[in-house]
Amino acid sequence: MRRAEIITALLMAGLSLYLMFKSAELPIGWIPGEGPGGGFWPFWLAAIMFGSTIWVMVNWYRRTSPPSQSEDPYLDAYGLKMFILVGGGITGMIALVEIIGMHLAVAVFLIYYIRFLGGHSWKVTLGVSLPSPVVTFLFFDIALRKFLPTGFMDPLYIPLYDFFL
């Protein structure tokens, strides 16, 4: 935990400096007749962010914050496994959206999670995952008119849109 605390603080300090640099692309000072420039607000906020990361580092050095005192692992074996399987699963689902579309990616993700991570029976798995593309299509595409991405499956959806809309 202690090592994670300082690494995160250093990364966030870097991010703050980058944000200050990007903000400074617009004027950060006073423009006569116009008031503060466009970069003023984010620049000073990022500067305060930077200052607070230094403060976190000082607390780390002095061991005054709980994470800086803790010798527990940042992610234990269970935490790491969960992080990879769940986080990886969601990343996979979003990547699949670009290929097979959101409706089918949702179904694939639900099968992956419920069957393989949850260890539920195929009956339960399919009972939850198979209706999901239909429900998302009817609710979002048809009722809300928010057309979800269809990826390479687009030709399949054209007759459906024709029928419902």
């Binding site: 995160t8 006073w30 970069g39 984010p42 403060w55 976190v56 986080g87 670009e98 993700f109 928010k146």
Partner: protein, 505 residues
Amino acid sequence: MELLGLLSDGFLVAFEPLNLGLIVLGVVVGLFVGAMPGLGSVNGVAILLPMTFLVPPTSAIMFLAALYYGAMYGGAISSITLGIPGASTAVATTFDGRPLAMQGEADKALIAAALASFAGGTISIVLFTLFAPPLASIALDFGDPEIFALMILAFATFVGLSGDDIAKTIFSICIGMVMSAIGFDIISGEPRLVLFDLIGFQSKINFLVLAIGIYGIGEMMWTIEVSRGDTMMTKVTVSVERVLSNLKIIWGTWKAWLMGSFLGFFVGILPAAGATPGSLMAYGVAKMTSREPQKFGKGAVDGVVAPEAANNAASTGSMLPMLTLGIPGSPTTAVLLGGMVIWGLQPGPRLFVTETEFVWGLIASLYAANLFAVIINIAFIPLFLWFLRTPFTILAPLIFVLSMVGGFAATERMFDVWLMLILGVGGYLMRKLDYPVAPAVLAIVLGPIAEPALRQSLLISSGDVMVFFNRPIAGPITIIALVLLFLPALQVLWRRVRGKRPVEG
């Protein structure tokens, strides 16, 4: 009398069939959301907000406010039967709710919680109805310096009162504000903070991207890691006779719920405080003022009643600054406020003048939601207990899916879905190191209001910051904000001074 007229007009709006149906639906969804460990009102409101685009804004906010209310009731169900708070707002309810359940009196605790929530809800809505119009009329005279001073006050409460790591709280506030500045400068229209020169950053980051990322993805990952699937439900015996006999509890505990309601309402108004500290404080005060404080922690009904009245009252309290000043009193109201902007409403006191139907419809809907929540809660206790047995390995993927699809529907950009994932996972990793996430969500909503207020104020004062001190309303607000900002430092100083004082006698 004018107040009653406006309120009765509000009831006419709230009782329109669509609105009434949505209030009942919102309460039911809220009860389920609140009851599920790891899910609270803010998760429900953030994830379901994109679904409300189907109905008009007034109906949408009634649904979400009813959900907020239902979640406050629902939180007690898992606190009592599982010993795990359904949401952080119901932590205090576990202290005595769980012991009562272990003694075979889970039904008594559940009914006491529902009735106390009803009492807290009712008292706070009456207070809300009385306080909101005068506060809004005062706020109508607010100029940019006053608005910016209020923003500072809102964030100062996080620094001074939240009890989180101060440096990390300040970081969280600032990163939320900077995120709200991405895209373009709202005054000159020039591109600004186009990070890594990605096209996706050429437009603003929708607050829902952060809110759903944090509360839909990050918090779910947190719950999966922390709970590790270990829960044990106590047996609950429910029968009509027992329900009827337990209804009398409310008379014997009037002191606890009355105190909890008032305390909760006023604590709820403060942005950093809200329902969680409100309920914990109510528990503490109830114990302190009880004739039998030794019973607390071992199954005292007062220990369930006080925090439950307080968390419902606080949820109403947090809507007061949201509706009258345009400043959210809690993360949930921050999301609601962001929703108002999406629906094309301008949050702030002018709502009371320009959108009377919206405002009074919402207020009336709170009365209705409170009544439905208590009836549905008590009538369907067995159903909620059955639902609580749903394995998290089914519920969690459904929430991830809803987050992704809802996140896409809000902005219709895949870039935002990826960003939501990054922010959600990042939020989860940062939270493990005690970085608070709620201030960032509030900040991304308030940023677009705070920045023009600051720049306009400085423009009218020619760059003189005294504009925040020498105006009759902005001055006191700024001073209170500064006191709150320096409160932790003052406390440290005070402790040192006291520590050095020689021992008397």
